[in-house]
């Protein structure tokens, strides 16, 4: 009875205020509910990012596709034809395209979200909205351009499936949305972590450029995992993207060494990255205007 009374008076004094601004928002308050309220804004931003990028261009959205087709073609020429790196018996073009499609999505997500604070300092300095809305919009708008690229990949894939029959897709394909989600989560988590750190030390922005360049070689994109000597394979398996990429290739092309346990590792990594990323991001959002 007594406890209930206290509860009630507590409610009376608190419920009248819609917003209470305190010095520091607790780190465990992710503000997800508020994020949901702002979903309209996120959708508009996704649109803005996607549309505005290719206004006043002749080829328009084709620019989402052209770079990846060209780079996959060049990879085929150099790594497969000149350097004779094996692609585990799958058509080289398709092999590189599969790797590129997923990798480009990841690296685009990472580089877009990592600039959240530095690029949007102006807008952050003037209006309030849940800051996480921005990186989420980046992830989603990149998802649209990813699906454009993925459709092109599917077109090539269907061609090889029908005319060359060199590939053996299987039911692991159903796991594709999960794989995509994992890539998005890792990209978002690491991206916002870097963006939070960048508010104080710009060094991380530079570090990211180098990291992405090296990351591409530390992920089996231009070579299959099976070509890596046994004793070095564990290094590649530390990379959370390796299992995702290998599973993706296995599902669509049918050749790869798949290990379900390493996929679990990727999932745990994605969750941790996201969790730590959001905590750092929320801390930075409170103070970044005073430091940037």
């Amino acid at each position: 009875m007594n406890a209930q009374n206290i509860e009630n008076t507590f409610n009376d004094s608190e419920e009248n205020w819609t917003t209470v601004i305190r010095p520091q928002r607790p780190s465990w308050d992710f503000g997800l509910g508020e994020l949901w309220q702002y979903r309209g804004l996120i959708i508009l931003w996704v649109r803005r990012e996607f549309v505005a990028l290719y206004k006043q261009t002749i080829l328009g959205p084709l620019w989402h596709v052209i770079p990846i087709v060209i780079s996959s073609g060049v990879f085929t020429l150099i790594f497969s034809n000149f350097a004779k790196i094996s692609t585990d018996g799958t058509p080289p073009l398709l092999f590189y395209m599969a790797g590129n499609t997923l990798w480009v999505y990841f690296s685009n997500c990472l580089s877009a979200t990592s600039t959240t604070f530095s690029v949007n300092a102006g807008i952050f300095g003037k209006v309030y909205f849940p800051r996480l809305a921005m990186p989420i919009a980046y992830i989603l708008s990149n998802l649209i351009s990813f699906s454009v690229r993925f459709c092109v990949f599917l077109a090539f894939w269907a061609y090889f499936l029908i005319f060359e029959s060199a590939i053996k897709p299987n039911l692991w394909m159903l796991l594709f949305p999960v794989l995509l989600l994992l890539v998005a989560c890792i990209g978002l988590g690491l991206g916002i972590l870097i963006s939070a750190l960048t508010t104080k030390y710009r060094d991380f922005q530079q570090l990211l450029g180098v990291g992405l360049q090296l990351g591409m070689y530390a992920t089996p994109i231009i070579y299959p995992l099976s070509q890596v000597p046994e004793e070095f394979r564990w290094v590649l398996l530390l990379n959370p993207l390796t299992p995702i990429l290998e599973t993706f290739r296995f599902a669509f092309l049918g050749t790869s060494s798949i290990n379900p346990f390493s996929l679990v590792y990727s999932a745990i990594f994605a969750f941790c990255a996201l969790f730590i990323g959001i905590i750092f991001f929320n801390r930075a959002e409170n103070t970044f205007l005073d430091t940037i």
Binding site: R22, G40, I123
Partner: protein
Amino acid sequence: MSDIMLSIENVSKMYNLGEINTTTYYHDIRRWWAGLHRITGHVDDVHQHNTVSDTIWALKDVSFCVKQGEVIGIMGRNGAGKSTLLKILSRVTAPTLGILKVRGRITSLLEVGTGFHPELSGRENVFLNGSLLGMNRSEVSRKFDEIINFSGVEKFIDTPVKHYSSGMYVRLAFSVAAHLESEVIIVDEVLAVGDTNFQKKCLQKIRDMAVQGRTVLFVSHSLGTLAELCEKSILLEDGKVKSIGETEKIINDYLAKDNQGANADVFFELKQNSKSAVAFLRASITDMVGTVKTEVSVLEEFKIRLEVFIRRPQNEIDIAFRVKNQFGLSVFVSSCADKKIVTEKSLGVHTLTANIPPHFLSPGKYYVTIAAHLPLQEVYDFHEDVLSFEVVEYGSSMSLYKGSDVGAVLVDLPWSIS
């Protein structure tokens, strides 16, 4: 007490000064260590325990309440903490100490047009900006026609805003913000935009908001607008609330610098190392025989005397002053440039005198700003509101209207009857 919309309790904000470089890594670690032992509580406690001296308190223990339907003016000189307060209110930055409570939504028109994307059309930007300011899609749709009508850019609504003139851009942006349905609105200097007609429309809009029962916080340097719009005002000084009360009284506080009252004779120190071509030595208000006066009668002619030291004479040097009244309205500006009295031969100390005719300034307090400059090129010396004096009433016909608005100046027009 339920009509209090906004309650600000002991809000303080600390900024760290100094650059961020390699040494800050070390500071960070030290601060983190200090943080483990930090005693939370009053500002001074934290200040004492903060061994790093490169910090500044932009706001100190600011507390006030705002009721529903009030239009509150916030004034203060540059650096008084106005912008910091607004930033905290609009949740752009967090306070270091203290709590703010708001009933209902709070939106700020800190700078209109934030988030406008140049490549998108006016229509798309209205939706984008609307949702950025916290409206949902159906709200914007419902108000869309009203917004467009108010802005007056109907014809170009489907043109990318990069082709807009700056006036159209700002008008559209203000319209979006003005049609928000939030309960508390913060307006910061947005009225400095657009033509006079649009400014009037905006002022009317703000008045309407108050009538609808919405609460408006209005920040402006234009004391005239503040006096017109706000019944209550808050004066900030050095991060603290100096006074709260009726706008007219607060404006007087604001202008009565350091509370010294009238100051009709001011000497300036000549800096030894200054290389400025012209420097003021003394400024004063005197009667016709040269006695310094802080009060002059409406019926009396008086002088503004400026003593200057001209180090490098030039034909183009201009020495001028501006007279402001107690509402901050600039009544007139007078410059010696037209008279061609400063020439390339006027090296050394000179006294310039301007006679203010009788029956010209209406009774009230006045403030004089003085400046010496090379027009459009260089300002040599500048002192804002450095002199103050009062024009008083000694039994002229004007005394009948004491306290009522007789205009900034009295004009003796040649009337006739036929």
